[in-house]
């Protein structure tokens, strides 16, 4: 504020002065919702569309979405470059892509989901977001949907970067195999689910740093250790039933279907579509749990 601007003369008498922006001196003006028996179906849809627009504006007004997209795309490019050079070993282009997207780029999609939700707690904008939403559950759902959209973009961009990487290495000289495109398509879905899952976890925990650390420690360490221990104990293979494992399985199974590598790796225990469904279940569960916790939490 270079010069203090007072549109209202503080010394002006109150009577006869109408501040700009106060357009309804009539106390009987109809307020939204007044006298309505309940919110109609189109009304609920309109409210949801309004929240989605708001969340989209939040998304593209800060740097998080592209700042995390860059490493996601780079990782995919580099891993595909490396696996393409290793072709002739066990790696088909599809499997290389599945590895790049599931083990590397997808982590950035879930971190994006965590960041976009927890930054509201960090910057204390969650108060205004709750105050301007018809309900907290609607707000969390809108957030999850937008994070899923951004996640899908991460999946698509990472897949394209990966294809470019494989092409640089000469791995796609025989054209783009159908199997590779299928992996890319399913990756877009898993990345979307990762974004939504991140929103759920962040809403549960509400601390940005804690949520990011928890997600990474879980995915990179806890899940491996637990499924390893269970496997060693002879209790069976549970990896593809755990969140991270299910998402990975959906891509690697699809990539290795009918390939030599797939047979060698003992694939086929859990079909890719079942793993995808299991992962979708975890994602939905995380969002619902986050919404339920948000609903009861005091915002002070």
């Amino acid at each position: 504020m270079t010069t203090p601007q007072h549109p209202v003369n503080p010394l002006a008498p109150v009577s006869g002065y109408q501040p700009p922006g106060l357009n309804h001196p009539d106390p009987n003006r109809s307020d939204p919702g007044r006298g309505e028996a309940g919110s109609s179906q189109p009304e609920l849809v309109a409210q949801m569309v309004a929240l989605l627009r708001s969340e989209l504006r939040k998304t593209y007004s800060t740097a998080a979405w592209w700042a995390l997209l860059i490493p996601a795309a780079l990782l995919s490019l580099l891993v595909n470059l490396a696996t393409a050079q290793g072709n002739g070993l066990a790696f088909t282009p599809g499997l290389g892509m599945a590895l790049a997207l599931s083990s590397f780029s997808s982590k950035l999609a879930v971190i994006y989901g965590v960041v976009c939700a927890s930054s509201e707690f960090r910057h204390r904008t969650i108060t205004t977001s709750f105050l301007t939403a018809p309900g907290r559950v609607q707000l969390i759902l809108a957030k999850a949907v937008v994070a899923a959209l951004v996640g899908a973009v991460y999946g698509a961009v990472s897949a394209i970067a990966g294809i470019l990487g494989a092409m640089f290495a000469g791995g796609l000289s025989g054209g783009v195999p159908e199997n590779l495109l299928a992996v890319c398509g399913v990756a877009v879905v898993t990345f979307a689910l990762w974004g939504a899952l991140g929103v759920g976890v962040a809403t549960l925990m509400s601390s940005q740093l804690a949520a990011i650390v928890a997600v990474l420690v879980y995915l990179l360490l806890v899940e491996q250790v637990v499924s390893g221990l269970v496997s060693i104990s002879g209790l069976g293979q549970i990896e593809s039933y755990m969140p991270g494992g299910a998402a990975n399985t959906a891509l690697t199974e699809l990539a290795s279907e009918g390939t030599l590598a797939g047979t060698l790796l003992g694939a086929g225990t859990t079909p890719w579509w079942l793993a995808l469904l299991i992962f979708a279940g975890y994602s939905v569960l995380a969002v619902l749990a986050g919404a339920a916790v948000a609903q009861r939490r005091d915002v002070t």
Binding site: H6, P7, D31, Q47, R53, S54, A63, R124, F130, V137
Partner: protein, 329 residues
């Protein structure tokens, strides 16, 4: 009232549009701390209601409970007859300015407002309108991180006004504002209330809101100690006290005595302190007696003293005879 009803978002009853805020037997415990205890009061439209109490009295908790941010342990707060989460389009009915309301530092003020304009469902043109109302029209494209505290307060108010609400709830809005800003806010709130709308504004300082509010609710240690008109907040001596400077103190005193007002003391600077007559009576008497008035003020020291007494740590709500539900009973 019992334990608070779950926040059932499907249970959307229609609100009555009255502009009334009703706090009913509100209690809120944070762990071992009783932040608010069995608090009840009503805020009516068409006037500015001050919500006063020392720091830690439970003001913020009460306001946040009204806005659905804090879930009551017992009791409830209704706005237009329903809970905040049942309003459907809450921000088009209630605008709120809370002290810890945040901004993303990297966003421009205009972007911040556009985000919430979209959520509320008002057109983007509303953004420029509210920026103009709060005097930030030239600063809308600056990043909020570069804003001063006073500018952030204005931006908070602009956010609250986006939905063109009929009710404004403000928690300590004066903090961070310069004296011009405080004066501007006072006029704004009075004008807002003069259009038949509701204003509830909290403060820990009586002086800060004394010129703005008509009604006050005073709380201490989570309980109400006074609810009623500000000018009826007084100690045992409920007679008005007026300070007057005139062209002829002696003649004025005689004229007042003739009207039965005898408790008159002269002050060191040649004026009079009249107890037992309102400013109107003193002014009318002076006019009839042909005495020119140079200065006439209703004594406020009593208010301040009474406020401090009520909000003292040792004060026991309900003990003082001066505490009434609506002024003296």
């Amino acid at each position: 009232m019992g334990a608070v009803n779950g926040r059932n978002t499907h249970d959307r009853s229609a609100h009555d549009g009255s502009g009334r805020i009703v706090v009913r037997n509100l209690s809120k415990r944070f762990g071992p701390v009783d932040a608010v205890r069995d608090l009840s009061f009503t805020v009516e439209p068409g006037r500015v209601t001050g919500f006063l109490g020392p720091n830690g009295a439970g003001k913020t908790t009460t306001l946040r409970a009204a806005l659905g941010l804090v879930i009551p342990t017992e009791g409830e707060v209704t706005i237009n007859g329903v809970r905040y989460d049942q309003l459907g389009h809450p921000a088009r009915i209630v605008g709120a300015l809370l002290d810890s309301q945040g901004f993303h530092r990297a966003r421009r003020a205009r972007t911040h407002l556009k985000i919430y304009a979209a959520a509320i469902g008002v057109p983007d043109s509303r953004v420029d309108e509210v920026l103009t109302v709060v005097g930030l029209q030239g600063d809308g494209d600056r990043k909020v991180g570069g804003y001063s505290l006073g500018m952030r307060q204005r931006l908070s108010l602009a956010t609250a006004l986006l939905g063109d609400p009929r009710i404004l709830v403000l928690d300590e809005p004066g903090s961070g504002l310069d004296p011009q800003g405080v004066a501007w806010l006072r006029e704004f709130l009075r004008a807002f209330a003069a259009t038949g709308r509701t204003v509830l504004v909290s403060s820990h300082q009586l002086a800060e809101v004394a010129q703005t509010v008509d009604h006050v609710v005073i709380i201490n240690k989570g309980q109400r100690v006074y609810e009623g008109r500000l000018d009826q907040l007084h100690s045992g001596d409920d007679r008005p006290k007026v300070r007057v400077h005139s062209s002829d103190s002696t003649r004025l005193a005689t004229a007042l005595a003739g009207k039965g007002v005898t408790d008159i003391q002269s002050t060191s600077d040649g004026g009079l302190t009249v107890t037992g007559a309102t400013a109107t009576v003193v002014g009318d008497t002076a006019l009839a007696a042909g005495v020119a008035i140079y200065g006439l003020t209703q004594e406020r020291a009593d208010l301040e003293r009474q406020f401090l007494e009520m909000t003292d740590a040792r004060y026991q709500p309900g003990v003082s005879a001066a505490v009434g539900q609506d002024g003296p009973l």
